[in-house]
């Protein structure tokens, strides 16, 4: 693990990705200690101040400190998408390994269903679910987790199939190992790299999706500080108070870039070529 980190950090893009990701995680975790102001505190005397010494990134239309809001602004998005990414990776990964290993008719039929799911417009389906279940993490996390899991499943299953054709898996099957030891001991260790990279990639796309939802009004709701919501709220003032839009955009994009670079670097360090993954 340490060696992997060292390999990643040895390339500038990998180091940048790692740095950005860790930086954002730290920011989100330590927000209460970093943010100088209460991110929801409105103040009529500090409306739309340009960046200055006490408000490093200026203030918004309700006089709230943009810096504090930006620092807090990733918490919900990161928490929601990270949970969803973990769910997606776990279930998609497990199912992918399972179907890739088992093969045959079961796999064939399952893949039909998976392909059908993949050809659903995910954002719209998410919106459909939201229209039924209402907006909120409890709707969004399982839905994101499920849909992105389908994509993970597809990728992992492809890799698992190639792996399952290798003789050491045949050897384990011939030896009479039960399914579970085959999945966990023979298959999983060889696919964990792919899962790691897939998970990271999906996580970054989910961040993008979640911020889009927030922007549309289906993700975070006021007064939660959230990057997507902040952009939606301050967007109209781009020409007079650009800081209200600029900083949340910058932080959001830098986190996504960071995760992307990190995933690329991890993939390269582990010898995977993952540029062909679907950006779902």
């Amino acid at each position: 693990m340490l060696k992997l980190l060292a390999t990643i950090a040895s390339k500038p893009s990998g180091a940048l990705g790692l740095g950005l990701t860790l930086f954002h995680l730290a920011l989100a975790l330590l927000a209460p200690w970093i943010a100088p102001f209460d991110p929801t505190a409105q103040n009529a005397d500090t409306i739309l101040l340009a960046p200055n010494a006490s408000h490093l990134m200026g203030t918004d239309t309700l006089g709230r400190d943009v810096f504090s809001r930006v620092v807090y602004g990733g918490r919900l998005a990161i928490a929601v998408t990270f949970t969803a990414a973990v769910i997606a990776t776990l279930w998609g990964g497990f199912a992918g390994i399972f179907f890739g290993t088992v093969g045959g008719r079961v796999d064939e039929y399952a893949m039909r269903v998976v392909d059908a799911f993949l050809s659903m417009p995910w954002l719209l389906f998410l919106l459909l679910i939201i229209s039924i279940g209402g907006a909120g993490p409890l709707t969004i996390i399982p839905t994101l987790g499920f849909f992105y899991g389908v994509a993970v499943l597809r990728v992992v299953r492809g890799a698992a199939m190639q792996l399952a054709a290798r003789d050491f898996v045949t050897a384990a099957k011939a030896r009479g190992e039960a399914l579970w030891p085959i999945l966990s001991r023979e298959m999983f260790p060889n696919l964990s790299d792919i899962l790691l990279v897939e998970g990271a990639m999906r996580w970054s796309w989910m961040l993008l999706a979640f911020s889009s939802l927030s922007f549309l009004g289906f993700g975070a709701t006021p007064p939660t500080p959230d990057w997507g919501l902040m952009v939606a709220q301050e967007r109209g003032l781009l020409s007079t108070a650009p800081w209200g839009v600029f900083w949340p955009c910058l932080t959001l994009s830098s986190l996504i870039i960071g995760i992307n670079l990190l995933a690329d670097a991890v993939g390269k360090a582990l010898g995977l070529d993952r540029a062909t993954a679907v950006a779902v």
Partner: protein
């Protein structure tokens, strides 16, 4: 060959059927029904009864599903709860607008992206590749609503080249639409180009390392000819399906783009329908999008079939 094509069509039909079931089931699974979730506090008395009657909710789910599908095939998606109008009257104009937006974006982005992907893949790790890949990475990670906002600021407000929001009558012709869709198409294309380019690049790099490209070199084929005759068709094959999937998934971004540009398309209609909890309308739009997506995938499948002689072998 014909049987292969039939198979693809069959699968597309299966997919649409499956998606429709999932969507129908998702709505069925909700506590209460379409009417109660629409009427909320007012779900009682004659209003509820009228709604239930109008939506035909007293019939069993299977029958309703059958009717829904049968209607949808004929372009009849039922009745909007909120707008109190047949859904097909509501969506046709907007479908046209969205198709114009998405279609134009795809039409421009795909060839351009493929070209860039080839350029980057061929010049792997050189400055052109690095700058293209870097730009792609940026375009992929910046949310569409941010790009859109920035473009509006620069091109509509500062330069005043294009309108900031879409202002056209529902029946407007193409020439009237044109200035309005330049910016939305740009935003959608940027993301598409980035993703497809990356994919194409990876595929080109793979193919460049293949034995047959080495062989072509050793045969004395000039580099340019190697790229266009040997690399590109073969790099396209694996990329095609992935491109289709990406195009399909990314076109969901029209919802965001339409919202930002106030564009009268299916996306904005869907957002409104969700706010209104007008589930029949939401379902209809989601189904239409699914059909488009399946269509895109089908097109990619058929293109792959045309490109790849290996797929055409019988019984494969």
């Amino acid at each position: 060959m014909p049987s292969l094509i039939l198979r693809r069509f069959g699968f597309a039909a299966f997919t649409i059927g499956f998606v429709s079931i999932v969507m129908f089931a998702a709505v069925e699974a909700l506590p209460g029904n379409v009417c109660t979730s629409f009427l909320q506090r007012f779900a009682q008395g004659p209003r509820l009864e009228r709604c239930i009657e109008q939506q035909g909710l007293e019939r069993p789910a299977m029958v309703r599903y059958g009717d829904w599908v049968a209607g949808a095939v004929q372009g009849d998606f039922g009745y909007s709860l909120k707008k109190r109008k047949p859904i097909n009257e509501l969506i046709w104009e907007r479908f046209r607008n969205t198709a114009l937006l998405g279609g134009l974006a795809a039409l421009l982005a795909i060839p351009f992206a493929i070209f860039l992907g080839i350029a980057a893949g061929v010049r792997r790790d050189r400055s052109l590749d690095l700058s293209l890949s870097g730009a792609a990475m940026l375009a992929m990670t910046i949310p569409e609503f941010v790009t859109a906002t920035a473009l509006i600021y620069v091109f509509a407000i500062v330069l005043q080249w294009f309108p900031a929001v879409t202002i056209v009558s529902p029946g407007a012709g193409f020439m009237q639409m044109l200035p309005n869709i330049v910016l939305p198409v740009l935003v959608l294309s940027a993301v598409l180009v980035a993703h497809i380019m990356r994919m194409m690049r990876a595929s080109v790099i793979d193919v460049m390392a293949s034995d047959y490209v080495q062989m072509a070199r050793l045969k004395g084929v000039p580099e340019r000819q190697i790229i266009w005759k040997h690399v590109v068709p073969n790099a396209m094959i694996p990329a095609l399906n992935v491109i289709a999937l990406t195009v399909a998934w990314l076109l969901a971004g029209v919802v965001v783009v339409e919202k930002v540009f106030n564009y009268p398309g299916l996306g904005t209609l869907m957002i409104q329908a969700i706010f209104d909890r007008d589930l029949p309308l939401v379902q209809a739009i989601a189904l239409i999008f699914s059909v488009i997506y399946v269509g895109v995938n089908l097109a990619a499948d058929l293109a792959a079939l045309a490109l790849d002689p290996r797929l055409r072998r019988k019984g494969h």
